[in-house]
């Protein structure tokens, strides 16, 4: 395995690697608080463990956080490449005839400029704005200049969706799609699409780093992500963040001008975003203890069944989901539930797409990515902490995605409004206002 642009554990390497351009550093270091993992920056002492190691003959401490990428332990150092990384130039490799909307064009120009100047930029684009297309020109320019481009995505699903799309518009470019179990492992390509975990293998490798759906990274990998991004990109490189729902701090930084950002406040189809309606439904958890649900929720479901309009119903917990699905199946036998660990997740989403499932009860797992033309959504228990501002904006973003059906109902059933709910609604209203002001909506 060639080491250029990487940092690998000694145990991953054969003895015959190029020792001239490498630096060998401890993967686990002692700190005042205890230990820190040099590869993933974990310093949560609960995520370190020790064992009698047969390799070093001592009680050896290792990092449990990034262990799926091989075990960083006191006797297993990191071998870091510090030599030059090869570079390949392509002459305008982009093969795409699509048309950008005016707002996309503006964002695309900003992305090109950031890449050219090695700046950082936040692309704040609503769900359905067409974020990926906004990157094409910038990536094209970078590849033409012999720069190495990396797109980090929160989950394997996203990598699997993004990689073939990019491959089809950059057919001549060598690409790597990295995720757990991927065939491209260890490849250093001109264009890389990767999960955060796989990013941990790279060191000062990329000239352009794009972080897709930055808010979607599971909370636990949040801190790890920015660390991994900083290590994997070159010190002199550009950094582009893409999101529909930046967190509060970022929104503040954008407002005060501390963070350079470009917004795409309207969808490609030039219709406004559907605004959520709040509906108080009382103490639904208490009701459920008597196997009953609030009447407004039952009514909403029945109405949709009668009108034959497909819908998602989001619920806060997997335990509740599993209890409530059999209850709804009394209304209609084809109602299904889906959650993150559901082995039939893909099949159920596909069946929903085909119209075979009238109502899909789901945890937040379907909050993003899934685009189905004509649906409504409701959240039951919108006051629960799992429904953050960003989760609620994403949920609302499932509705009205196609030009043919640009509207729909977004209903938050709650037992007391939360800050997150209000912030989500305000967020959507503000985006619509900005879009109107900039003339990006036809009404």
């Amino acid at each position: 395995m060639h080491l250029a642009g990487k940092q690998l554990l000694k145990s991953e390497l054969s003895s015959s690697y190029d020792k001239q351009h490498v630096q060998i550093v401890e993967s686990i270091v002692k700190t005042k608080q205890g230990y820190r993992c040099v590869r993933c920056n974990n310093d949560d002492q609960q995520l370190f463990a020790s064992f009698p190691c047969a390799r070093c003959g001592r009680i050896c401490t290792y990092c449990r956080k990034c262990i799926t990428m091989g075990r960083c332990s006191e006797c297993n150092p990191l071998v870091i490449w510090i030599g030059p990384t090869p570079s390949t130039s392509f002459s305008s490799p982009l093969q795409w005839n699509g048309q950008l909307s005016p707002a996309q064009q503006l964002a695309s120009d900003e992305v090109c400029q950031a890449i050219d100047r090695n700046d950082s930029l936040l692309v704040w684009a609503v769900c359905g704005a067409g974020k990926t297309e906004v990157l094409f020109a910038g990536i094209n320019m970078a590849l033409s200049h012999g720069k190495r481009v990396c797109i980090a995505a929160p989950r394997t699903d996203v990598v699997l969706e993004l990689a073939p799309r990019l491959a089809s518009v950059f057919p001549s470019v060598d690409m790597a799609a990295l995720y757990g179990g991927s065939q491209d492992r260890g490849k250093l390509a001109s264009l890389t699409v990767t999960t955060t975990h796989q990013l941990l293998r790279y060191y000062h490798a990329f000239d352009v780093m794009i972080v897709d759906e930055v808010d979607a990274f599971p909370y636990s990998v949040d801190a790890m992500l920015s660390y991994a991004v900083e290590r994997a990109r070159k010190p002199n490189s550009s950094l582009i963040y893409l999101t529909a729902t930046p967190n509060e701090q970022w929104q503040r930084e954008v407002k005060s001008g501390q963070r350079k950002a470009v917004t795409i406040p309207a969808r490609y189809h030039r219709h406004p975003l559907p605004v959520p309606t709040f509906e108080w439904c009382g103490n639904w958890q208490k009701k459920w203890r008597n196997q009953r649900l609030p009447s407004c929720v039952v009514r909403w479901v029945n109405e949709h069944l009668e009108r034959n309009k497909q819908a998602f119903l989001f619920v806060p917990h997997i335990d509740f989901l599993q209890q409530v699905v059999p209850y709804f199946q009394q209304f209609h036998p084809h109602i299904e539930g889906v959650h993150a660990e559901d082995p039939k997740r893909k099949e159920k989403v596909l069946a929903f797409r085909r119209g075979q499932i009238p109502l899909l009860v789901t945890t937040t797992i379907l909050e993003r990515g899934v685009t189905i033309p004509n649906i409504d959504v409701a959240v039951l228990g919108a006051e629960q902490p799992i429904f953050t501002e960003s989760a609620l904006v994403q949920i609302a973003g499932r509705v009205g995605r196609s030009a043919q059906y640009p509207t729909g109902d977004v209903r938050f059933f709650h037992f007391g409004k939360t800050k997150a709910m209000i912030a989500a609604k305000r967020h959507i209203v503000r985006m619509n206002d900005e879009a109107r002001k900039r003339g990006l909506i036809d009404e």
Binding site: Q46, A49, C53, A54, Y62, I67, T68
Partner: protein, 222 residues
């Protein structure tokens, strides 16, 4: 507290019974815990596999071949969850996960064996041991407060040259280290019992070295 397996935060309930018996709270959250399926109900009395027959087909086969292994006791059933946890424990090398098994391992062991037995963990080859850093069978055995004897040694797969012709011919996996097992009651410990070939072979070797009564204790029955 963080769940040992999923790393999610959870609050273990504090009960009076726990305070009185000084029983430790579980190291994993109820959701992860519920996914381990303990072997209970109708089982083959020889190998612990779920079975309606008192002795399953496989064990009748072993008997015909005059096995010296009296009984295998297993703790958990093999399922997708177990596969995932074992993968992290063994192949990724997350040693700490052994703690998730402590309570059930001790309970099931105590139900079947007295404390005057000796444990013999199934060894790894030296190259595998260096790669992994620990032997999972030994890690499981160390949960029990019972003396261990390292009576077996693996004949390294790579080092065919060091095997005798006969060893190569029959594909023997182990040889004796010379540790004394004569007249001792032995419980062989391993992570998983699939066909049973491994523990039955180990039992034969120990029997020939003079061990008296040989059983096996495995974490998982697949």
């Amino acid at each position: 507290m963080k769940c040992l397996i999923c790393h999610d935060e959870w609050l273990p309930p504090v009960s009076l019974a726990m305070l009185l018996t000084l029983r430790q709270a579980d190291v994993c959250c109820p959701r992860c815990r519920a996914r381990f399926i303990r072997l209970e109900g109708n089982r083959c009395e020889r190998c612990s596999r779920l079975s309606d027959q008192a002795i399953c087909e496989d064990c009748i086969g072993w008997e015909r071949r005059k096995t010296v292994l009296k009984q295998n006791v297993s703790v958990y059933m093999y399922n997708d969850w177990m596969k995932e946890v074992m993968n992290r424990f063994k192949f990724r090398g997350d040693y700490a996960l052994v703690e998730a098994f402590r309570f059930d391992v001790r309970r099931v062991f105590d139900e079947h064996f007295s404390s005057d037995v000796c444990l013999v963990p199934i060894p790894l080859s030296s190259s595998r041991l260096a790669e992994r850093g620990f032997n999972q069978a030994e890690a499981i055995a160390s949960l029990l407060s019972v003396p261990m004897i390292f009576a077996l040694q693996r004949i390294d797969d790579e080092k065919q040259s060091k095997k005798t012709r006969r060893e190569r011919f029959v594909g023997r996996k182990f040889c004796l280290t010379g540790e004394d097992v004569a007249e001792k009651r032995i419980v062989i410990v391993d992570d998983i019992y699939t066909t049973g070939a491994t523990v039955h072979e180990a039992a034969k070797l120990l029997y020939d070295a003079g061990a008296r009564e040989i059983c096996s204790f495995t974490l998982v029955r697949s």
